[in-house]
């Protein structure tokens, strides 16, 4: 009975193929880590800073609140 030994070149090719094939079985972490984004645009002025209120926040809030309350018609008819 004669034993047939593979030639070393074929053996190397076989080993590399097996290695490549098995590499697909490895586990790579696939969980994404979400990060909270930061606004990257231009800075905006606050509504009471520019325009007619010139930084008077209290006056702006009062004007807006009065305007909002004016939407209630029950206030107007009483």
């Amino acid at each position: 009975m004669s034993t047939r030994i593979l030639n070393p070149r074929a053996l190397a090719v076989l080993a590399v193929t097996a290695l490549l094939g098995l590499s697909a079985c490895s586990e790579v972490p696939q969980v994404t880590v979400y990060e909270q984004g930061q606004y990257r645009g231009k800075t905006d002025t606050r509504p009471w800073e520019g325009g007619e209120f010139k930084g008077d926040r209290a006056a702006w809030e009062k004007a807006l609140k009065e305007r909002a309350r004016g939407q209630n018609e029950y206030n107007r008819i009483q």
Binding site: G37, L64, Q71
Partner: protein, 212 residues
Amino acid sequence: MGRMKFLCDAERCIECNGCVTACKNEHEVPWGVNRRRVVTMNDGVPGERSISVACMHCSDAPCMAVCPTDCFYKTEDGVVLHDKDKCIGCGYCFFACPFGAPQFPNGPAAFGARGKMDKCTFCAGGPEETGSAAEYEKYGSNRLAQGKLPLCAEMCSTKALIAGDADVVANIFRERVLRRGGGAEVWGWDAAYGGGERKQERKQERKREGQS
């Protein structure tokens, strides 16, 4: 100041589309974009309901979360705004928004051809100098800086759409609901403007008369 909110009273909205027109006119909104729309359910059937929808200026806005260029910001008053110079027109915000608020002037075109996203600004302009021509051109007028509320709500003829600080808006609506009285059987004028309590009184009177 708390948070700016819109509230639409479905009992009062008569689907006149005045809010849509007012918004379009005030901001010269680009062709193909409607920052505000009126949605009607059971159209033509007695008891139909309409509601005016625009950006709800969410407390935890999904458009802000998905934007790859981080061009969204929230003002101290809770208004969600964005920087059009940073927008790349990817359309992620359009898919993320449950209200269909972000819209693109070129419609559902290919990526890069949609144009800059446009949405309701609560009449608060954008990140340009307040009242400047650049601000008006990109975002529309800045009524909030003038101490005024969004025009859609201010000109609503039936006061179905109300806007402003969440506390004030909630109080107005609470009072309205209390005055309505009645219940599910009250609809139309009585539900919208009150009179339900009178109906209830009459019902009780009739009951009493029937018993005696």
